[in-house]
């Protein structure tokens, strides 16, 4: 046993001994490590690459009784149905609008919060505000949605009570299609601002203090320093965060959509993922739903890959 340990451990230093090993010898040398790696290997094989095989049903007429293999091939039937039907444009539009608008509207908030926090000189105050700011990101999407529904409830909800105080008519916000997107985005900002500010706080902490000292000597005021030092120094981080966010534009928080939407707001709220869930799992229309899902996955992949490429070009880190 100890012999094996020696063998496995000794040559970690770069490639020198590796060149002389055959694959078999190499595996034998690393057998303990390989044994440790088995669960991971199986996990990725079964649960990350396995589903690719399940994608076949997008080109078949799958039913639970015939199984994946036996179901008849139908080629691109489901794709053609999807693209020529009314669903495609609605989903495409909704996903894009919700993704783009929630990104654009929520993007500045963490930056502003980080800059304001950075200007606080009283430590306990800074710490308290920051600690409070990421409390919402610990709450589940169900709790957040419940709070939204509770606040907007037509019977006795907080917002409607407030409206009544000022003499406005009460309103059932959640069944009004015009209100769906603002509600979704506002609750997103409330949830994620503090958490996303952490990254900007760290970037600010990395700015050289000598810049500020030099500015101080030159008599710069704090607002000058914010606009001439802090923000320009943050720019690379901001750009990279923006590019990476563009990449995951389609990854909408569909769980929240699922919790907040209802048949009255389907027209604006329904996105690819919620549609796939309803068609596939609730209506058992597996093949059609898988085709829609595959289309979404491909678009998402192209977006993600190009944003990663961009981010690396800009000198930042990609996802890996």
């Amino acid at each position: 046993m100890s012999q094996a340990g020696m063998e496995a451990g000794t040559p970690p230093k770069k490639s020198a001994p590796r060149r002389t090993l055959t694959a078999f010898q190499h595996m034998k040398r690393d057998r303990q490590l390989l044994i440790l790696f088995i669960p991971c290997f199986l996990f990725y094989l079964i649960f990350r690459y396995g589903p690719l095989y399940g994608l076949l049903i997008a080109f078949k007429d799958y039913s639970v009784f015939t199984g994946i293999i036996e179901s008849p091939w139908v080629g691109l039937k489901h794709f053609i149905n999807f693209f020529s039907g009314p669903d495609f444009w609605k989903l495409f539009k909704n996903t894009l609008i919700l993704g783009v608008s929630s990104m654009v509207f929520s993007f500045p908030f963490p930056i502003i919060l980080a800059i304001l926090l950075n200007e606080v000189r009283v430590r306990w105050f800074k710490k308290s505000v920051q600690t409070i700011s990421y409390l919402p990101s610990f709450l589940s999407v169900v709790i957040i949605s419940s709070m939204v529904i509770d606040f907007l409830s037509p019977n006795n909800g907080m917002i409607n009570q407030l409206l009544a105080v000022f003499g406005f008519e009460g309103k059932y916000f959640l069944i009004d299609p015009n209100w769906f997107r603002p509600i979704y985005i506002a609750s997103d900002i409330w949830t994620h601002t503090g958490y996303e500010a952490i990254i900007y706080m760290a970037a600010i902490a990395g700015i050289s203090p000598s810049l500020y000292e030099a500015a101080k000597v030159d008599g710069a005021k704090r607002r000058h320093m914010i606009f001439n030092i802090t923000i320009p120094s943050l720019m690379p981080t901001i750009i990279i965060m923006f590019v990476l966010k563009t990449g995951s534009l389609l990854r909408i928080g569909y769980e929240k959509v699922l919790l907040l939407y209802n048949p009255m707001t389907y027209d604006v709220a329904d996105v690819f993922s919620t549609f796939v869930y309803r068609k596939g799992l609730l209506e058992a229309n597996y093949s059609y739903a898988a085709a829609v899902g595959l289309f979404e996955a491909l678009v998402a992949m192209v977006l993600l890959l190009s944003s990663n490429y961009m981010s690396r070009k800009l000198g930042g880190k990609g996802l890996w």
Binding site: L33, L36, F138, I143, M147, L319
Partner: protein, 291 residues
Amino acid sequence: MVKKFSMNNISLFSVVNAIILTCLAIITIYPILYITSVSFSDTAAVLQGRVALFPVGFNLDAYAQVLKDARIPRAYMNTIYYTALGTTINLLFTAIAAYPLSRAGFFGRRFFMVAIILTMFLNPGIIPNYLIVQELGMIDTVWALVLPNAIWTFELIILKSFYENMSEGLREAAVVDGASEYRILFQIMIPLSKPALASIGLFYFMGHWNSFFIPLIYLNDSTMYPLQVVLRDMLIFSESSNNTNLVDASALAPQSMKNATIVLAMIPVLLIYPFAQKYFAKGVMLGSEKG
């Protein structure tokens, strides 16, 4: 630090800044406070809308009523079970996978890393994932909740780079002493990576505790439902059916009952929050440094 700014300058700027940040903090925490206050307030005050920030009166009836419903205690137990089992499996799988991958000469390292990273870009979607779980016969079992997400690629990469940056010296000393790879991992690497494991574990923990969609699609047996799914049934579905679900014959305000339910679900998270938040920030940082 403060002294170096001119007095005039600091007072105006700092005061405005402090006011803005205080407002932001209030906006952040207000919904949580309000929900809690309503759940403890007198029924009459709730119905008349007299609760603004702090509880009006004190009243635990809403909690008594909610806990009478067998679903909540059961869902609590389910969630605790799924979270404990799930987080344990997550951490174990991630650690034993990150260690070999962190070793420079590990057999097939490059190939495995590429294959693992590719999965971050390629997500085949809900239906194919569902079919795999179904084919494996895991529907309505706890395994459907813990195995399909046993390793989060992002956390795996974080831990792998953490191990890569650990000192070679310790490991080499252990090798000289004849320690096997298993011993090195479990008696040296894992104990030394506790801070990283705590951050990663926190994300896994939150993932399980707050998980809603996965149990929703993989569990049909309602006695197996975790807290989040039961909450959805009680809080969100009942809204559309006009509150008949919770209220029954009680003289309680529907608002109180709902909010008591929300508070019960938030309590564990709020309890761990003071301890967890520092690991949380650390985890976000680890992720952004080496992702």
